[in-house]
């Protein structure tokens, strides 16, 4: 697995998302109440960019007229046909077992740790790939960073 530094945590607003690209593929980074999740930014239905949709709360009901509103924006609604996906797992609401958006592991790393590794790799002249690949960002010690964990 490879770790890609893709954004600062403060780039992703609570209840929102950003789109990043790694190796030609786009991913959505989502912030659900301060916890970060990542999905391939492609709806499994017809390929729309999920990050162009809205993060929304659940609405559940067992009988007409009853509404149970969730309080956290834990779902992403596809900007096209409105399919709802759980941001954490990628599972669709209507068919959790078989229809899902692709969920990707994501970690948060402190800038200090990343900077230390980068400094060391520069000192030793070690070539990437190292444990972290910072594609776009100059790493600042005082920031926190979102790291995507990808197969390659």
């Amino acid at each position: 697995m490879k770790n890609y530094v893709v954004a600062r945590t403060e780039d992703v607003p609570v209840g929102g998302s950003i789109r990043v690209e790694v190796n030609g593929r786009a991913y959505g980074i989502f912030n659900v109440d301060g916890t970060f999740h990542a999905l391939l930014d492609r709806c499994p239905h017809q390929g729309a960019a999920l990050t162009r949709g809205a993060c929304i709360a659940t609405i559940e009901s067992d009988t007409p007229g009853e509404y149970r509103f969730g309080t956290s924006r834990t779902l992403i609604m596809c900007p096209w046909h409105g399919w709802e996906f759980d941001i954490e797992t990628g599972q669709s609401w209507f068919d959790a077992a078989r229809t899902r958006a692709l969920s990707v592991d994501v970690n948060v790393e402190h800038g200090e740790d990343l900077a230390a590794w980068l400094h060391e790799s520069q000192q030793t002249g070690a070539r990437l790939p190292g444990p972290y690949i910072a594609e776009v960002h100059e790493v600042h010690r005082e920031d926190d960073y979102i790291v995507l964990v990808l197969p390659r």
Partner: protein
């Protein structure tokens, strides 16, 4: 009004045509039509607004204007900016020709609850907006003609005016829901002008004709409204057949947009059953009902059928084609509406290449007379 030769609108070179989209939408924003309204109707609009009923007002749609969330141009109004639509639809997917259907034109329309000449003025403005801002913007746009179809004589005037202006007006836009079923004698002036000009008539949902969308009153939810779009077309087909319209005007052609197509074969057989038993009514007809379909009714792909088992899609297509309708299905995007179908992903890959070629290009090229598949004469 003098006609304007839109030299800028014709392609400089003959491009091969490979992908045709027969349904996209230009949607006027709040100020789009103002330059095209006569002063008296501008004043009327400012005082009274448009009061013809539209269901989006009473059955909340999925999103503003029922559009894709990512289709909002800088102006803030999806479908209102030709350059934005050009980039997001035509350029993005390599669409060679797209036919605009301005359905706001049948919503702020001749259904009633506002003066007829006001509705006619709005429709003229809709068509002028297409003419002067969409056709000039990109050679790939075509458009249907917005008319007050419930006042057929007025509609004929507008159809003639538009076709005199430009050959890029390629069909007549009618709501799937009309005040009377569309084969009714009331609409004969439209059959006549469509036949004379060789223009197809497009059925598109959206207008209400101030009727309820069901036989038992208005539904509560947009889900009901949207799911039952086929009903208006189904009603129109039964009417056009049994009123004998297709015998009297054998050149008439209709395209049913957003109605689906997997109901067409069973409905054709049901119409046959009706004709079998109701000899007193059906003996006037020259053909069996199912025999009218291939020559007169075209269907569009969006919203694409999604059977429970994907294998049934090809079965359903084969059943449809078995009625002689392989040339009667055409790709449509419905851009920028939320139920948009991407040409890259919506049509199942299991459909054979010959069917895909027909559906994505050849059938529409033939239907609209866009020239032999591979070139655009216009």
């Amino acid at each position: 009004m003098t006609t304007v030769a839109l030299d800028a609108s014709t392609p400089a070179t003959r491009q091969p045509v490979t992908l045709i989209d027969v349904d996209s939408h230009n949607i006027p924003g709040p100020s789009s039509l103002l330059p095209y309204l006569e002063p008296q109707w501008l004043e009327y609009l400012q005082h009274y607004g448009v009061r013809s009923r539209h269901e989006a007002d009473i059955q909340p749609v999925l999103r503003p204007l029922a559009c894709r969330a990512d289709s909002v141009p800088p102006s803030g109004f999806p479908g209102s900016d030709p350059r934005f639509s050009q980039a997001q639809l035509l350029d993005e997917y390599g669409i060679d020709i797209s036919v605009l259907n301005n359905i706001l034109g049948q919503i702020n329309f001749p259904g009633g609850n506002q003066p007829v000449p006001f509705s006619a003025g709005l429709q003229r403005a809709n068509n002028d907006w297409a003419m002067y801002e969409w056709f000039t913007s990109d050679p790939r746009w075509r458009s249907s003609i917005c008319v007050t179809f419930e006042e057929p004589d007025l509609a004929v005037q507008e159809i003639v005016r538009c076709t005199d202006m430009s050959d890029r007006f390629v069909s007549i836009l009618v709501s799937t829901r009309t005040q009377k079923p569309f084969g009714n004698p009331k609409y004969e002036p439209l059959f006549e002008v469509a036949s004379q000009l060789g223009l197809p008539i497009t059925f598109h949902p959206g207008g209400t004709a101030m009727n309820n969308s069901t036989g038992s009153g208005m539904p509560s939810y947009y889900f009901e409204n949207h799911s039952t779009y086929p009903l208006g077309t189904l009603t129109a087909i039964a009417s056009l057949i049994f009123e004998g319209v297709l015998d009297r005007w054998p050149g008439l052609r209709f395209v049913a947009i957003e109605a689906g197509w997997s109901w067409a074969a069973p409905f054709a057989w049901r119409l046959n059953a009706a004709a079998d038993t109701e000899v007193v009514e059906a003996s006037r007809l020259q053909r069996k009902p199912s025999e009218y379909f291939a020559d007169h009714f075209w269907f569009t792909t969006q919203p694409i059928e999604e059977p429970e088992d994907p294998a049934w899609f090809v079965e359903a297509y084969d059943q449809f084609a078995g009625l002689g309708l392989a040339e009667n299905i055409m790709y449509s995007s419905d851009y920028p509406h939320w139920d948009f179908d991407s040409p890259r992903t919506a049509i199942p890959k299991a459909l054979p290449d010959t069917a895909r070629q027909a559906l994505f290009c050849d059938n529409a090229a033939r239907f609209y007379g866009f020239g032999a598949a591979g070139t655009d004469r216009r």
